[in-house]
Symmetry: D2
C-alpha cells in the first residue's frame, strides 16, 4: 500500500503539530490537502508544508479525490458533523477530542462510525500513546500491580494561561472544567481499569479568581468516582499550576503502586541552586506530549495499512463525554450523580 | 519548676516508645509510675526504665501522690474514662488518639477537660510535631502556597501487617478504616486548612482479601470531603502498601503545591541495582514518626512548665471522631453524609 | 534545495538506527545507497528501507553519481580512509566516532577535511544533540552556573553486556576503556568548558573479571584531568552498571551546580513495590540517545542546506582521541601524563 | 555503673551541641564540668545546663575528682596536648577532629592513647554514626554492592559562609581545604573500603575569589586517590555550594551502586512552584548531622560502660591527617604524592 494521503481540517496550535507530523516526520503519510477559514493557515500549509490543495471549507476538502483520510482539529462544535461527512465519503478519520459537545449528536456519530467498520476511526486521546503511559499500561496488564483499587488522575494547566482563560470565560463557554480538561483523565481511568464509572461526586473552588463563579467555571476542581467494581477514581483538574503543566496519574493495586509523572520532569536535568535542588518541569501539552502526538498518528496510519481499528474508539469518546457531563451536573447540584 | 513526674498507662509497642522517651531522652521529665495488666510490662518498666511505682490498675496509679501527669496509651475504649479520672485528680494528661469511641462519651470528656483549664491536655496527633509537617505548616501559614484549594492525605499501612489484620478483624472491631487509620489524616486536613468539614462521601474495596467484606472492614478506602470554604479534601486510607508505610500529604494552593513524603524515604540513601534506582522506604510508624513522638512529648512537658495549652486540643479529637464516623456512615450508605 | 541523498556505510546496530532515521523519519533526506560486506544488511536496506543502490564495497558506493552525502558507521579502523575518500569525491560526510585510531592518521584526515571547507563534516558526538545536554549547555552559556570549577562525567555500560565483552577482549583490542567509551565524556568536558585538557591521571580496577588484566582492559576506570584554566574534570568509565546504562554529567560552577541524568530515568514512571520506590532506568545507548541520534542527523542535513559547519568538528575528534590516548598511557604508567 | 560524668573543653557552636546532648538528651551521662576562656560560655554552661564546676583552664578541669571523661571541642592546635593530659589523668576522652595538626604530635598522641587501652578514646568522625551512612555501611559489609571499585565523596560548604572565610583566610591558616574539610571524606573512604590510600593527586581552582590564591587556600578542590587494592577514591571539597551544605558519598561496586545524599534533602517536603519542583536542602552541618552528633556521643558512653573501644580510633585520625597532608602537598607540587 502506498502513502496515506491526508487532508487536515484546522491549523491552530494543535493542528499545526499534527500537520507537521504528517507532512514531515511520519513515513508512509503525505499531507495533500488542508482546509481552514484562516487565510494565513492555508498559506502556511502551502508554503511550509508543501500542501497543494487548500480549501476554505471542509465540504470542499472531503470531496477531493486525492485524500484517503482526514485529520480533524477544528473547534469542538464541528466535530460530529465533520466526522460523519468524512465517514460517508469513505474516508478514514482521525479526530481530536472531544467527539462532540452534545450526547445525542455523539451517539448518532458513533452509530455512523460503527456503520463503516472498514474505515479507521481514531479519537485523539493521545495520552494512551505516550511512552510512560504505555509502560504503565503494560505493567497493569501484566498484573504487576495486582488488582487496582484506586486510580488518581491530575490534569492541571499552567498558571501562565489562567488570566487569559478568565477573560475568555467571561464571554465563552469552555464546556466546563471536566469536559474541557478532565476528559483525558476520565479516559485514562476507563483505559487502565477496563471498567465503567457508576457514580460520581464533583466539586471545586475559585480562589485566585472568584469571578469565575459567575461564569460557572472552576479554577480548581476535584471529583471522586466509583467504578462498577468498586474501584475508586479520584480526579483533580485545574488551571493554576505555578510550576507548569501537571499531568499525573497514580495506580494503586494490591501488589504495588505506580505513578506517571509525579514530578512532571522536563528533561533529565537537576539544578542545585539557591532555591534548593530543582527539577525543571514541562510547561505545556505540546512539550509534554510531543512524542504521544506523533505515536498516535503513526498508529492511525498503521491501522489503515493493517486494516484494523485502534485501541481508542468512538465509544470511548461517548463514554468520556457522558462522565464529564455527570461530573458537571454533580458540581451544579453538589450531589452524587449516577452515570446512566 | 522541677522535673515533671509521669505515670504511664499501657506499655505496648507505642506505650514503650513514650515510656522510653520520658524516662531516658527528654530532659525535665521523670517516669515514676506505670500501670498495666501485663506483668512483663511492669517488670520492663521497673528493670529497664527504673520505674519505682508499678500498679495493676489505673485507679491506683492516679492516686499516687508522686505524679504530676499521666500518659495514656491503653486500648481506645478506656481513654475517655481514664482522661476524666486523671483530670479530676488534678493531673495533666497526655492521651493517645482517639479521644474515645463514642461521640457522647467524647463530648462529656471534652467538657471535663475544659472544666480544668489549668491542667494541660494533649492528644497524640503526633504528625503535627513531625519536622516535615511543621515545615509544611509554616509555609502554609506564611502564605507561600496562597489559598488552599485541595488537600490530599494518604495513610496506608504496610502489606506486612495485612494478613494478621484480616485474622484480627474476624473477631474484633477495629472501629473501621477511617476511625482507626484516617483519623490522623482528618486532623491534618483541619490543621492545615483551619476549616471544618461539611460533607463527605467515602467508599472502598476489598481486593486482596474479599473476606473483609463480611467483617465490614476495608483493605483500601477513599473519601472526598468538602470543607466549609469549598476546599476539597481527599483521603486514601489502606492496609496494603507493598513498599512500606505510606503517609503522604499534598497541599494545593493558588501560589504553589507542596508534598510531604511523596516518596516515604527511609533515609538519604539511593541504591542503583538490578531493580533500577531505588529509594528505600519507611516500614512502620515508629520508624517514620520517631522524631514526632519525641517532639510531641517535649511540647506537652513545655506546656506544663509554661502553663499553656498545646496546639492540639480535645476539641480536635472530638471533631476528628465526628468526621471519621461520618465517613463510615457514608461507606455504609454509599451516599454523601453531612457532618454535624 | 531538494532532498539530501545519502549513502550509508555499515548497517550494524547503530548503522540501522541512522539508516532508518534518514530513510523514514527525517524530512529533507533520502537514503539511496548502502554498502556492507554483510549480505543480509544490504537485503534489509533494499527491502525494508527501499534503498535502490546496494554495494559490497565503499569505493563503489562513493562513485555513485546519485549521492550527496555519506554516513559512515563502519568499524573504527576504516573511518579515516573512508572519510578522506568521500571528501575527495566532493561528498558531505557524517562519521561515527572515533575519527580514527591513530593520531597521525587522524591528523591527516583533519587536514583533508579542512581542505574542503564547502563540504560539511560532522562527527557522531550525539550527546551534544540530546535535549537534556542542550538544556544544560544553554544554562552554562548563559552564565547561570557562573564559572565552572569541576566537571564530572560518568559513562558506564550495563552489566548485561560485560560477559560478552570479556570474551571479545580475549582476542580483540577495543582500543581501551577510555578511547572506546570515555571519548564521549572527554568531548563533553571540552564542549562544556571551552577549554583544553593539560594533564591527566587515570587508573582502574578489574574486580568482577580479573582476567581483564591480561587483556589490558578495564572493567571500571577513573581519571582526573586538569584543564588549562585549572578546572578539574573527573571521569568514571565502566562496563558494569547493574541498573542499566549510566551516562551522567555534573557541572559545578560558582553560582550553582547541575546534573544531567543523575538518575538515568527511563521514563516518567515511578514504581512503589516491595523493593522500595523504584525509578526504572535506561538500558542501552539506542534507548537513552534515541532523540540525540535523530537530532544530530537533522543538524547535519540542515548544515548542508544552510551551507555551514556543525558545532562538532573534526578537530574535536582529534583532540578527543589525543586525550583518550593520554589517559590510556597514564593507566599503563600509573603516572600523570601531559597532553601535548 | 552509674552516670558517666563529663567535663567539656570549649563551648563554641559545636561545643554547645555536644554539651547539650550530654547534659539534656543522652541518658546515662551528666555534664558536671566545663572549661573555656570565654566568660559567657561558662555562664551558659552554669545557667542553662546546670554545670556546677566551671574552669578557665583545661588543666584545672582535668584535675577535678568529679569527672570520668572529657569532651574536647577546643581549637585543633590544642587537641594533642589535651588528649594526652586527660589520658594520663585516667580519663576517657572524646575529641573532635582533627586529632592534631602535626604528624609527629599526632603519632606521639596515638602512642599515649594506645598505652591506656582501658580508657576509651573516640575521635569525632560523626558521619560514621549518621543513620544513612550506617545503612550504607551495612549494605557494603553484607556484600550487597559486591566489591567496591570507585568511592566518590563530596563535602562542600554553603556559599553563605564563603565571604567570611575569605576574610578569615587573609590572616589565618585553616590548615588547607583538605585537612580542614575533606578529612571526613578521607575517613569515609578508609571506613567503607577497609583499605589504605597509596597515591594521590589533588588540585583546585579559585574562581569566585581569586584572592584565595594568595592565601594558598582553595574555594573548590578535587582529588583522586588510588587505594592499595586499586580502588579509586574521588574527592571534591569546596566552600561554595549555593544550595546549602552538600555532603554526598557514592559507592560503586561490582553488584550495584549506592549514593548517600545525592540530593541533600532537608526533610521529606517537595515544593512545586514557579522554580520547578524543589527539594529544600540542608543548610549546615549541625542540621545535617544532628542525629550523628547524638549517636556518636551515645556510642562513646556505651563504650565506657561496656569497656570496649569504638569503631573509630586514634589510628584513623592519624591516617586521615597523613592523607590530608599528602593531598595538600600534591596541590602545592601539582604532582602525584605517595602516602606512607
Amino acid at each position: 500500500m502506498g502513502d496515506i494521503r491526508f487532508g487536515i481540517a484546522g491549523l491552530g496550535r494543535l493542528g499545526k503539530t499534527h500537520a507537521m507530523n504528517i507532512a514531515n516526520t511520519i513515513s508512509g503519510a503525505q499531507l495533500v490537502a488542508a482546509c481552514s477559514v484562516v487565510e494565513e493557515e492555508l498559506a502556511f500549509a502551502n508554503n511550509e508544508l508543501g500542501v497543494n490543495e487548500t480549501y476554505s471549507t471542509y465540504e470542499e476538502m472531503v470531496n477531493s479525490p486525492n485524500i484517503d483520510a482526514v485529520c480533524i482539529v477544528t473547534p469542538s462544535g464541528f466535530h460530529t458533523e465533520q466526522i460523519c461527512l468524512a465517514m460517508e465519503k469513505g474516508l478514514h478519520v482521525f479526530s481530536e477530542k472531544p467527539l462532540g459537545l452534545e450526547i445525542e449528536d455523539i451517539e448518532r456519530t458513533v452509530e455512523t462510525i460503527q456503520a463503516h467498520p472498514d474505515q479507521v476511526f481514531q479519537l485523539g486521546f493521545m495520552r494512551r500513546y505516550d511512552e510512560s503511559y504505555q509502560y504503565a499500561k503494560e505493567m497493569v496488564d501484566k498484573g504487576e500491580l495486582g488488582e487496582l483499587t484506586v486510580i488518581r488522575c491530575y490534569g492541571i494547566d499552567p498558571s501562565a494561561g489562567l488570566e487569559s482563560f478568565v477573560k475568555f470565560a467571561k464571554s465563552n463557554n469552555s464546556g466546563g472544567l471536566f469536559a474541557d480538561m478532565a476528559i483525558h483523565d476520565i479516559d485514562l481511568v476507563r483505559w487502565f481499569s477496563n471498567k465503567e464509572v457508576n457514580r460520581v461526586w464533583a466539586m471545586g473552588k475559585n480562589a485566585a479568581y472568584p469571578e469565575l463563579d459567575d461564569a460557572n467555571e472552576l479554577e480548581t476542581g476535584a471529583a471522586m468516582m466509583q467504578l462498577e467494581d468498586k474501584t475508586t477514581a479520584i480526579i483533580v483538574a485545574g488551571r493554576n499550576a505555578q510550576h507548569g503543566y501537571h499531568v499525573e496519574t497514580e495506580l494503586i493495586g494490591t501488589k504495588g503502586m505506580l505513578r506517571v509523572a509525579a514530578v512532571p520532569e522536563k528533561n533529565l536535568v537537576s539544578v542545585f541552586n539557591e532555591h534548593g535542588v530543582v527539577r525543571p518541569t514541562s510547561q505545556n501539552f505540546p512539550e509534554r506530549f510531543k512524542g504521544a502526538f506523533l505515536n498516535e498518528m503513526k498508529e492511525f496510519i498503521t491501522c489503515i495499512k493493517e486494516k484494523r481499528q485502534p485501541d481508542v474508539s468512538a465509544y470511548d469518546g461517548l463514554q468520556g463525554t457522558k462522565i464529564a457531563a455527570a461530573l458537571q451536573e454533580s458540581v451544579d447540584k453538589n450531589q452524587i450523580v449516577d452515570v446512566n
